[in-house]
Structures are given as C-alpha cells and as structure tokens.
Amino acid sequence: MLDVLLKRFRAGDRLALARLLSLVSRGRQVDDILRALGPSRRPSRVVAVTGSGGVGKSTLIGKLIEVIRGGGQTVAVLACDPQSPLSGGALLGDRFRMPARPDDGVYIRSLAAAAGRGAVADHLGLMVQLLEAFGFDVVLIETAGAGQGDTSVRELADVVVLLLQPQTGDDLQWEKAGLLEVADLVVIHKADLPGAENVEAQVRATLELSAARAVPVLRASAKDGRGIDELWAAVRACPPRRPPAAERGLGLLRSAQECLAFAFDRARAADDPRLKELLTSYEKGILTPRQAADQLLRLLATTAP
C-alpha cells in the first residue's frame, strides 16, 4: 500500500503527495516514510513566517508566492492554524488569503496545530522533507498565531521571518526573550498604517544591542505591495544558520515529544486500563505530578506502536 503510494509520489503524482502528507500529519507510518525518503538530494529553501494572529502572515505569504513564482521558482506552503483543545476540530482559513488560481508550481496545505506545540503542526519536519523530495524550490511554513514563547519553528526553517505590526506594545516588549530572539528577519507589516516607523525604530534599537548578529528590519505592506520584493531579496540573502551548541539535540527532543504525545493520544483513545489507573491515581493526588509523569513515560515506552 505504502509502496504504491511512494512510487506514485516519485513519479510526481500530487495526489500521492497529498496522501503522504495526511499520513504524516496523523503520525502514521512515519518511520517507514522517513526511511523510504532517505536524505534530501535537493534541499529547498525553508522559510518560516511567524507572528501573532492577525498580523498578516497569510496575506503576506500570498504576495510572496507571486514574487517567488515571478522569479521562476516553485513553492509549497505549510499553513498552520490552531486546533481546538475542546473538540479537536479546526478552522483552517489561511489559503483563503492566498492566490486561488491553480498553478502546478504552487502547493498549499492547511494543517491543524495542537495547543502547546509551539504554534506548528506535529511532524512538520518530515512534511518539509516530502515537499523537498517532490521538488519544490521553496517551502514556506506559516505558524499559527504565535505567542512570545513559540520559538520551535526555528528548528525547522533556514530563515525565520517575524512579522510585527504598528500600534503593538511599547519598547519593553522588544527586550523580552523568545520570538524576537529567534528571528533572522523582522518585518514591520501593515506599513501603510501610522506608527510603523516608530515600531521599526524601537525594534532596530533593541536588535542593535546584541552584536552577535545583524538582523535586518524591513517595512512591508501586503495591502499596497511596498517592501515585498525587498523582503524576498532579504530572505534570499540570509546566510544559512548553523545551530549553536545550546540547541544541539533540540530537534531530537522535539521528535521524542511528538512520539510521546502520539502514544498518549493512542493509549487514551484505546482506553488503555493502565493509563486509566494512572490518571485516577494522579487526579486523586495519590501520586505527585513528578511521580505520575515518570510512570506515564514508562507506560508509554512499553505501549506497542
């Protein structure tokens, strides 16, 4: 079954690509697919676009798609929106703001991102690999609306573009650790609105304090089109980032966290009696949170995949 799918995928069948992405997003046959893919022969430029909800990520990506296609490159987009913690459902409304005209050089996939996973969908790394292997020159990752601490997209992308907008926060916001630290490029979006220069000046002043690396700050507006070409030129000019020693192994840790979350969901869905017992002891306070967590780890490790 998977063999046939992979064969069609290698022959350039978009439906096979779509189905493989579904399998991966659901955490199914991930190891088999990973093994079959092997190392990427033609690595794409992987660019993450992040920022809070409503800052204009989808709309700006829509404009970037036009610029990238205008330059003759193909592009795939992995667009994440939040998954409901209550129902498990999601309203995926990113592609609505991107070009709708069918173009074989453009692939847009909407993904649900569970809460607490850094505003990106699970198994995103493997999805990027699939799109690379399919031959897309550029892969854009759109995070769900990201909070100050949602930095995990950094492990997946060559370049992280952070979108900010006028009229948000005072200058202390830009001193905080987190999202601004991991940006390779900062865009003051909606630059047609008043106050953009002010935010730009504040962000520049903050970034200039850290001499470690120069982070370009640009102004752009998807509405009137200003700064979009310049933004793409700046993305292309970004030097490839080498993970510093402090980040070594973080990618592996994240994969392990994904595996754990998946095993937990599966055990819960299967009404595993050992899990039920553990949850009851935990809820009654018989086990401390730390003890319960240790037991949970051991339990999930022995759950057959």
Binding site: R14, L15, S22, S87, G89, L92, F96, P102, I108
Partner: protein
C-alpha cells in the same frame, strides 16, 4: 490500526459570483465544533480552483455553497473536474438556495446531499459522520 477514526477533512467553498458567506461560515463553525478539520477556501472560486484545493488538501468532503442560481452550471463542472482529477471518492455536499426541482437532478449527477435553508446544523454533522463511518471517504 488506531482506535479513533481519522479526523475528517472538509473543504468549504463558494463558487462563482456569489458573495453571501454567512451560511457557509456558520456551517464551518459547526463542523469545527464537531471535531472536523475545515478548510475554508473562500469566495468567488472557479470550479478548477475548488478541485485543486480538494486535491492538495487531501479532503474527504467538499461543501459548495451557492445562492446565485448558477448551481446547475457550476456543480456539474465541479463534479466533472473531480472525476477527471481521480477524486471521485470525495463526497460532494451542496448548500444554499437550491429550488426543489433541481435537487433530484443534482443527486443524480453525484451530489451526496443538498442542504437548504433552515437545515439544523446537527443534521449536516451527523450526515457527514454517518456516511464517513459507513466507508465513504
């Protein structure tokens, strides 16, 4: 393999020159709250754009909303393109303002169900859940 069935993916779209999007947004919300992944594809889409969206999103269902009166032109076009793209197993729902007399024709063409004004949201949710667990999509 897994105890829980995979989450249903549903594309909702409006085709043609019709900007009435209140109904489709209410349906989107109901399906979201029922645990489905709803891909909201938006307004003024061509049938070609809808089918490309269904393909790339690996959707199980597509819901078309039409209040313009153009359903007897646009729906057959979507059905034709779905078949042409090898997506005949994707279920098609139609909603909006559809005259009684056109409903049997649409069902004959391959539409799974037509939901008119006043349809309880639970009816749409349970239809999708039942048809999907019965092996469709």
């Amino acid at each position: 393999m897994s105890a829980s069935p995979p989450t249903l993916r549903v594309v909702l779209a409006k085709v043609g020159l019709d900007g009435h999007d209140r109904g489709i947004k209410v349906v989107a919300r109901a399906l979201r709250d029922a645990g489905m992944e709803v891909i909201y594809a938006g307004l003024w889409l061509t049938p070609e754009a809808v089918v490309r969206t269904v393909a790339d999103e690996d959707a199980d269902w597509v819901g078309l909303s039409l209040l313009s009166g153009a359903h007897m032109t646009l729906v057959p076009r979507v059905l034709h393109l779905l078949r042409q793209a090898g997506l005949e197993e994707v279920g098609v729902l139609v909603g909006g303002i559809i005259p009684e007399k056109d409903i049997p024709k649409l069902l004959d063409m391959g539409v799974a169900r037509v939901f008119g004004p006043g349809t309880p949201l639970e009816a749409i949710v349970s239809f999708l859940q039942q048809r999907s667990s019965a092996g469709h999509a």
